[in-house]
């Protein structure tokens, strides 16, 4: 349904995302994980062709049934595909809705854009039905409210309703639950899963929360320094990671294991700023296993959707 091949994002001379390749089939749920600054959101934004002006994308993004390559596609084509074939839920529920427009009008607009000429009364009925589907409470009242009168979780429901408005083939969710309480988060994840299941849509789910990936996704891509460092089925990647970065992420999330001081494990150092990643393996400056060999870029071992890029994989070469 969605095929991404050697996608890159550059700011002038600076590579922010490099050679990201993956596919998502209809009905499949793929996670994209990594720390802040690893290039997850940029990858998602590039898929929809919504990068800020100063950034440029390269490589290839294709959607089933569309002749044209999406990277560098004419704006007219992208405008037609966005919101109908490709939809996205953004991470900031507080700022992603227009503060000066009633909620129902914003949902109705998502319908209207792709159904020009549809009767206004019908469009409003569609919008109300969508808001009911995402279980917006007191829908009759809250639909007429402005975004600031809604809670974070309610706003995120509205954003989901907008994204699902035209039954997209591909739904991209960029940290949709990060800003929410854990209880609200669980409800929203269920809605997203139900939404894509009903429509048989492909889901690309971006998060830094491993527990969320484990619940939502079948496959996962681990990103660091703008590159995919490991990919594979969720169960395998989260139980038997091959890349030391994935290993580090897992250790950091494991509440039962601690270091000799009784503290939770952490990956040493911090994510470097864009452009400050080392040559060769992007993770080698923070990796305990790094040696001279890591100064050369490790090749991808395995197939695009299942493999890793590491000279010294966890568990040895297999």
């Amino acid at each position: 349904m969605l095929a991404v091949d050697r996608l890159g994002v550059r700011a002038g001379e600076l590579d922010l995302v490099t050679e990201v390749s993956f596919t998502v089939s209809a009905g499949e749920r793929v996670g994209l994980i990594g720390e802040s600054g690893s290039g997850k959101s940029l990858t998602a934004t590039a898929l929809l062709g919504l990068l800020p002006e100063e950034l440029t994308a390269s490589g290839s993004v294709r959607v089933a049934g569309v002749e044209h390559e999406l990277v560098g596609a004419p704006e007219r084509l992208l405008t037609k595909l966005r919101g109908s074939r490709l939809a996205m839920v953004f991470q900031e529920p507080m700022t992603a809705l227009n503060p000066a427009m009633r909620v129902i009008d914003q949902v109705a607009e998502a319908r209207e854009v792709h159904h020009p000429g549809r009767d206004r009364v019908l469009v409003e009925a569609d919008a109300l039905r969508l808001l009911e589907q995402v279980r917006l409470p007191e829908v009759a009242t809250l639909a007429r409210a402005y975004p600031h009168q809604l809670s974070g979780g309610q706003r995120q429901r509205v954003l989901l309703a907008m994204a699902l408005a035209n039954d997209p083939d591909v739904l991209v969710c960029d940290e949709p639950t990060t800003a929410l309480d854990v209880t609200v988060q669980a409800q929203l994840l269920e809605l997203i899963l139900a939404g894509v299941a009903e429509r048989g849509a492909a889901l690309l789910f971006i998060t830094h929360d491993l527990a969320v990936v484990a619940t939502v996704c079948e496959r996962v891509l681990v990103m660091y320094g703008g590159r995919v460092v490991e990919a594979g089925p969720v169960r395998e990647v989260l139980t038997e990671p091959r890349h030391h970065y994935t290993r580090g992420l897992l250790d950091a999330s494991d509440l039962e294991s601690t270091d000799e001081h009784g503290r939770l494990h952490a990956i040493p150092g911090t994510v470097p700023a864009a452009g400050e990643f080392p040559s060769g393996c992007v993770f080698r400056t923070r990796c305990g296993r790094a040696d001279e060999q890591c100064a050369d870029l490790p090749p991808w071992t395995g197939v695009p959707d299942h493999g890793h890029a590491c000279w010294h994989p966890v568990g040895g070469d297999s």
Binding site: L50, E75, R76, T79, S84, F90, E92, P99, M101, H114
Partner: protein, 312 residues
């Protein structure tokens, strides 16, 4: 309700402003009676004149009398001509309103599209040129713009009169011709200032998350900006428009001089020249009320534009 609260604030500030205006002019040196009668006036005549003007009464009484008059629409009589001030003031105010109103419309019509253009194209040469031109334009004083416009359109091209005023109901064509140059001199400079504010407001909106959401829905760049951007960008622009209207009222005083337009500004300057203090007092008060009223309207507009402020 925000409108009610703002209305109360409007009333209180107006009352305080009237006190300030009265007090400022009361402490100014210069006796209107002396000015009216000349240096050779006898003390008896002076005393008689002061009694006629009412300036021999205690200040609080004078203030109460003036304020009471204002509220009932009686602005008193001129010390110089002895005629009632209200009709003349209203005539002059109408002229100034035409001038300032037209200038404001010119400023908005020029600045909104130009500022939006400069924002959308801020990385291209065309956008940078518009920004640079607006910087330059904002540095030109209105009266200088006026003199330049007269030089080009009145002296060289002989297309428009260099000054003078025809009321709209006398000869509408002549009225428009007389209005163009002074309104342009006021409006273009304000347009330059406003363009910069519109540009930065639109730039902010272009970077807003909700605009990206709108694009993700499938709205084209222009449609997204028009549907979702302009209303949100309007909030800071309205603030500046309100402030500019006050600047324009003051700027009109000078421009009316340059173009010999019989507006409030020239009335004020004449009254200052002849020490016709009641007239000065009334004109200043009228300008103050106009500015406060504009601020009130801006506050109400905020609530219309931004739903968050409606309950504040």
């Amino acid at each position: 309700m925000i409108v009610l609260r703002r209305a109360v604030i409007l009333l209180v500030t107006t009352a305080v402003a009237s006190l300030v205006v009265f007090a400022l002019l009361a402490v100014l040196p210069g006796d209107p009676a002396q000015v009216a009668l000349g240096v050779n006036a006898t003390p008896e005549l002076l005393a008689k004149a002061r009694h006629e003007f009412g300036t021999d009464r205690p200040l609080p009484v004078q203030y109460a009398d003036w304020l009471g008059g204002l509220l009932s629409g009686d602005l008193g009589r001129s010390y110089v001509t002895g005629e009632p001030i209200a009709p003349r003031l209203l005539d002059r105010f109408e002229v100034t309103l035409w001038l300032v109103g037209t200038a404001m419309v010119i400023a908005a019509l020029v600045a909104v599209p130009l500022g939006a253009f400069a924002a959308v194209r801020h990385r291209r040469t065309s956008g940078v040129l518009v920004s640079a031109a607006s910087q330059l334009g904002a540095a030109v004083p209105g009266f200088l713009a006026g003199i330049l416009l007269v030089e080009v359109f009145a002296v060289h091209l002989r297309l428009l009169p260099s000054g003078g005023w025809t009321p709209p109901n006398a000869d509408f064509g002549a009225f428009l011709r007389g209005l163009v140059l002074p309104a342009l001199s006021l409006g273009l400079v304000q347009a330059a200032v406003l363009t910069r504010y519109v540009r930065s407001a639109v730039l902010d909106v272009l970077r807003a998350d909700y605009l990206r959401t709108a694009r993700a829905k499938g709205l084209g760049p222009v449609r997204a900006l028009v549907r979702h951007g302009l209303r949100n960008a309007a909030v800071p622009v309205v603030t500046v428009l309100g402030l500019q209207l006050a600047t324009l009222l003051v700027g009109a005083v000078i421009i009316e001089r340059v173009f010999v337009v019989p507006g409030l500004g020239s009335l004020l300057l004449d009254a200052v020249g002849t020490r016709d203090l009641v007239v000065v007092q009334d004109v200043v008060m009228l300008l103050v009320v106009a500015v406060l009223l504009v601020n009130f309207l801006v506050d109400v507009l905020y609530a219309v534009l931004d739903p968050k402020l409606r309950r504040a």
